[in-house]
Symmetry: C2
Subunit: 145 residues, 2 copies
């Protein structure tokens, strides 16, 4: 259960924009970054799978004892979608977020943290409370619609 909360887990959804395109198509670089991000955040790595698509793009997931970290990249758009789903009080998904932001040289990002598995005080009845907080980078570019 997460600290100061009755949720089983916390899930940070991340959109990284304006990333280094070459990094986003390098499966070894991405796998290493994701595994290191897991370790730095305090997670225990259980297993991982990564896949390089043709003509480009990488998908990968690191299963951790505390849930999972996932990534999907679109090098052609300098974009990566990342999920940092962690449980317990020992793991900090935001450390993974900061580390990956640097690794992919993300010029912009938007994040949203969701609570997953919200428990009622009696611990029996579980109710989902879609509590979220959105952080927008100050330099965030909006589409020129």
């Amino acid at each position: 259960m997460t600290k100061g909360s009755n949720a089983l887990g916390r899930h940070v959804l991340v959109e990284y924009f304006d990333c280094d395109s070459e990094s986003l198509n390098d499966i070894n670089y991405i796998r290493d970054a994701m595994l290191t991000a897991a370790e730095k955040s305090g997670a225990t790595v259980v297993n991982d799978v990564f896949h390089l698509f043709n003509p480009h793009g990488v998908s990968g997931v690191v299963v951790i004892a505390e849930s999972h970290l996932a990534i999907h990249t679109w090098p052609e758009y300098n974009f990566a979608a990342v999920d940092l789903f962690t449980c317990g009080t020992e793991v900090d998904p935001w450390i993974a977020f900061e580390f990956l932001k640097e690794k992919f040289k993300a010029g912009n990002h938007v994040t949203m943290e969701m609570k997953r598995g919200v428990l009622a005080p009696n611990g029996r009845n579980i109710a989902y409370k879609p509590v979220s907080s959105v952080k927008k980078d100050k330099k965030m570019r909006l589409p020129s619609v």
Copy 2:
């Protein structure tokens, strides 16, 4: 890109409550359910990893050509957190949702669909638009706070 949208993907976050506890601790049952859910939704399975925790609980991810499906179970709370992240117009994550709801005999559920990787019309500047829709089951129990 998803139909009628400028998003690269759609991500359905699912909380299944009041599930069959035994199913939620059966790694083979869960893996089979997740792989079948992927196929039924029209996805192409690339790889998968599943892990049974001690004393209980299963985590698993199916990497699909169109992103991923993930599950984490808490049999002790009859609860499972599921993520159905799909790209393209050929895959319907809601088919996976309905299938898994039946497989785990979920008495209640809450879902939220997020758009991931929202593109501007010019296809260059990507902006995240945290558009979401929450579906609450009519029978949804709220915590007895």
